[in-house]
C-alpha cells in the first residue's frame, strides 16, 4: 500500500536567491556579534588590565 503522506511531500528546487540572502544576513549577524564582543567584552577587559597594570607600577 502506498503511503499518501509521501505523495504530498513537495520536491521543488530551492530558489538560488535564497542562499545569497541567508548567507548575507548570517554574515551581518556575525559582524554584529563580533562588534558587540569587541565593545562589551574585549575593550573593557583590556582597559581593566591596563588600569590594574598602572596601579601596580605606581605602588612599586
Amino acid at each position: 500500500m502506498e503511503n499518501p503522506f509521501k505523495k504530498i511531500l513537495h520536491n521543488e528546487e530551492v530558489p538560488e536567491i535564497l542562499r545569497e540572502k541567508v548567507i548575507n544576513d548570517i554574515a551581518l549577524i556575525k559582524l554584529s556579534l563580533d562588534v558587540a564582543d569587541l565593545f562589551v567584552v574585549k575593550c573593557p577587559s583590556t582597559i581593566g588590565e591596563f588600569i590594574i597594570d598602572k596601579k601596580d607600577k605606581n605602588k612599586k
Binding site: E13, V22, I26
Partner: protein, 188 residues
C-alpha cells in the same frame, strides 16, 4: 581546496560543533547546502505560496544560526531540525489571523469523539484530498502526522521532539488520525 573537501565530509554533529565555536559563515553555508531543500519543501507544505515559503525558509535559517548552540546531540541532527522547522511553521500558521480564526472554529468541536482510525485506513486516503484535510486540522496535529508518516520518525524520536511521554505521543497521534479522516470525509 583540501580544507573544502574535508569540510564536505564532516558529520553534521562535527560541522555544528565547529559553527558554534567559530560562527563561521562559510561552514554555515555547508550546512545550508545540506538541508536547504528539505527545509524549503517543508515550508511549502505550510505556506500559501512559493514566495511565502522562501521567506519562511529564510527566517528559519537565520534563527537556526542563532539557536544552533542549543542542539545538544541527544538525537540525530535531522530529527532536531525537523522539530525546529515544524515548530517554526506551526507558530507561523498560528500567527496568521485568518487561519487562527479557522482553528478556533475547529476547536469548538475538539471534544467531539471521532471514529477510531487505524493506519490501513489512513494509507487508503487519496493524497490530494488528504492535503486539503491536513489544512483544516490544527497545525500541531498536522505536525505530528507528518513527523510519523512522512518523515518516518519513531515514537521515541517524536517523544524527544515534543518533549512528552510515549503514551501522550500515541494518544495525540490517535486523535490526529481520527480528526484528519473526519475532515477528509466532510470534504465529500
Amino acid at each position: 581546496m583540501k580544507a573544502d573537501i574535508n569540510i564536505q565530509h564532516l558529520s553534521d554533529e562535527e560541522l555544528i560543533h565547529r559553527i558554534v565555536k567559530s560562527n563561521d559563515t562559510h561552514l554555515f553555508a555547508v550546512l545550508y547546502d545540506r538541508y536547504s531543500r528539505v527545509v524549503y519543501n517543508k515550508c511549502l507544505g505550510f505556506a500559501n505560496s512559493p514566495d511565502e515559503a522562501q521567506d519562511l525558509a529564510h527566517d528559519i535559517f537565520i534563527k537556526l544560526f542563532v539557536k544552533l548552540r542549543t542542539f545538544k546531540g541527544n538525537s540525530k541532527f535531522s530529527t532536531w531540525l525537523y522539530s525546529f522547522v515544524y515548530n517554526f511553521c506551526v507558530n507561523y500558521v498560528n500567527r496568521d489571523k485568518h487561519r487562527k480564526n479557522r482553528s478556533i472554529e475547529n476547536g469548538d468541536i475538539n471534544d467531539e469523539s471521532y471514529e477510531e482510525v487505524d493506519e490501513d485506513t489512513l494509507f487508503k486516503l487519496k493524497s490530494d484530498k488528504l492535503a486539503k484535510a491536513l489544512e483544516l486540522i490544527d497545525p500541531n496535529e498536522k505536525m505530528i502526522l507528518l513527523l510519523k508518516y512522512q518523515d518516518d520518525l519513531s515514537i521515541v524520536d517524536i517523544q524527544a521532539v515534543l518533549g512528552v511521554g510515549a503514551s501522550a505521543v500515541k494518544m495525540r497521534l490517535k486523535r490526529a488520525r481520527e480528526k484528519v479522516v473526519h475532515f477528509y470525509n466532510t470534504l465529500g
